[in-house]
């Protein structure tokens, strides 16, 4: 059905519909993500990218359709919400670090309270991850002492500390100053290189083109067009995709 070079779909959405009152934010969305693949969701603000990610993390409940992650349906029968979230990490546009905890405590919270690792083990996991992003020296600082880029990288490793099988990134560079964007994207690039399965909502088109195995253009809650990045960016079929990309190029962002 889709371009899954690596075999079976790790995430699949079928006919997913989500309404807020009368407003249909997602309409019959079908999407497959292969294991170790990176899928980028592009489209204007309000097109449903964030809602789609939140549905996969069960932060929103879908009204119709089915979502399957790693062979387990999230939409039918009784679902252990917390167990699903243990496997599916999400990072938000606004970082949402816990301001009353140090950087280390932020990263340790999940391993300690959810994975049930001991204090020493959790701290080792957290320090190892902070070391990997070069922020070990900031371990005992509070988040408000860090730059936006540093905070967002901490938010990413906070999610990674849960050892997730899937990462959802929700416009994670949109709140950053331009000069801080690249350090965050570099971390995401490294994740894709080690084979992390990711679904990324983004406005960074050249980044999407570079890391994505598949790009989906969302418009008004519908996946209007999807395919390999070179096809979507170089040879879009749908008029609405062409129109969107033309405006992006006009703005100098591709």
């Amino acid at each position: 059905m889709s371009a899954d070079a690596n075999g079976h779909a790790f995430v699949s959405l079928e006919g997913v519909t989500k309404r807020f009152g009368d407003l249909e934010v997602l309409r019959k969305v079908d999407l497959e993500v292969g294991e170790h693949n990176v899928v980028c969701l592009i489209g204007a603000s309000g097109s449903g990218k964030s809602t789609l990610l939140r549905c996969i993390n069960l932060l929103e409940r879908v009204d119709e359709g089915e979502i399957v992650v790693d062979g387990q349906s999230l939409t039918t029968g009784k679902v252990d919400v917390n167990a699903v979230r243990r496997k599916v990490g999400i990072v938000f546009q606004a970082y949402n670090l816990f301001p009353h905890m140090t950087v280390l405590q932020n990263v340790m919270l999940g391993p300690r309270k959810v994975r049930g690792l001991g204090r020493g083990r959790s701290e080792a996991v957290a320090r190892e991850l902070l070391g990997r992003i070069g922020l070990e020296s900031k371990a005992d600082e509070y988040p408000d002492r860090l730059s936006g880029g540093q905070q967002q990288r901490v938010a990413i490793v906070r999610a990674l500390a849960m050892d997730p099988e899937l990462m959802l990134l929700d416009e994670i560079t949109s709140a950053l100053d331009p000069q801080l964007v690249s350090e965050v994207l570099q971390l995401v690039r490294e994740l894709s290189e080690v084979g992390m399965t990711m679904i990324i909502a983004t406005h960074e088109m050249s980044f999407a083109r570079e890391v994505a195995d598949k790009v989906c253009f969302l418009d008004n809650g519908v996946i209007c067009e999807q395919g390999p990045p070179e096809e979507i960016f170089s040879n879009p079929q749908e008029p609405r995709t062409r129109e969107f990309l033309a405006r992006i190029i006009e703005a100098g962002r591709l």
Partner: protein, 235 residues
């Protein structure tokens, strides 16, 4: 003028009244400390119950709302009369033998818990929903998100208004004195009846002020510190 000073602020009567009023004041402090400890815990519990999600928790939420509405609206004097004079009349073991002071603590606790519940609730609501969402997205349960992420931030924010309510509680321990507990105000009243001199009340007032001012300054300090921190975070 001299007569006024003599009746309300006579230095010799002041010295004379100190021992009795002081012994009464210790009862005020005692009632205040126990009531405040109970209020801190009970109010947090009720505030959390009031915020419970889902339809199943609706009756519990309703009870919490009923409690705060009722006791926030009822004057402490009425609650104190009912507790101190009414409860022993029920004839149950503990209540029958409870001291007026203990029942006064019950009255203070019941009324102030209602106020402080609202303070906590405002604090909990002031923590942005994205914090809870971030905690839940890590796989933390509702209770864990509340305990490790929401409440620590909420409580920090409400410490100043909380201390403000406690200043009110300290002073209201004097109301219990009107209903048979010989605390500072009642001692001062006894003094006035014995010597036809009101200076004992001034002694009581001074004691209360001495207790309140450090707390008020501490509250100011916390507020100022938070303002500085928030301004620093905005830079």
């Amino acid at each position: 003028m001299h007569a006024v000073l003599h009746a309300f602020a006579s230095p010799s009567a002041f010295r004379q009244a100190i021992p009795d009023v002081w012994s009464g004041f210790l009862i005020n402090v005692h009632m205040m400390v126990i009531a405040e400890a109970l209020v801190l815990v009970l109010a947090l519990l009720i505030a959390v119950v009031r915020g419970l999600p889902g339809r199943g928790a609706k009756p519990l939420r309703g009870l919490a709302i009923l409690y705060t509405d009722f006791f926030r609206g009822t004057p402490l004097t009425i609650v104190a009369y009912v507790c101190i004079l009414g409860l022993p009349g029920l004839g149950y073991g503990i209540l029958k033998n409870a001291s007026s002071e203990a029942l006064g603590i019950v009255a203070l606790t019941v009324v102030y818990t209602a106020y402080v519940t609202e303070v906590y609730r405002a604090g909990i609501e002031s923590v942005h929903g994205s914090q809870r969402m971030a905690a839940r997205s890590l796989g933390l349960s509702y209770g864990q998100a509340l305990r490790y992420v929401v409440l620590p931030q909420a409580i920090r924010r409400v410490i100043p208004p909380l201390l403000n309510d406690f200043i009110g509680l300290q002073k209201d321990t004097a109301i219990i004195g009107a209903i048979g507990v010989t605390e500072a105000a009642a001692q001062a009243n006894n003094f006035a009846n014995s010597y036809f001199n009101f200076t004992g009340f001034l002694v009581g007032a001074v004691f209360f002020i001495y207790l309140t001012i450090p707390l008020a300054r501490f509250t100011d300090h916390l507020i100022r510190e938070r303002e500085l921190r928030e301004r620093a975070a905005m830079v």
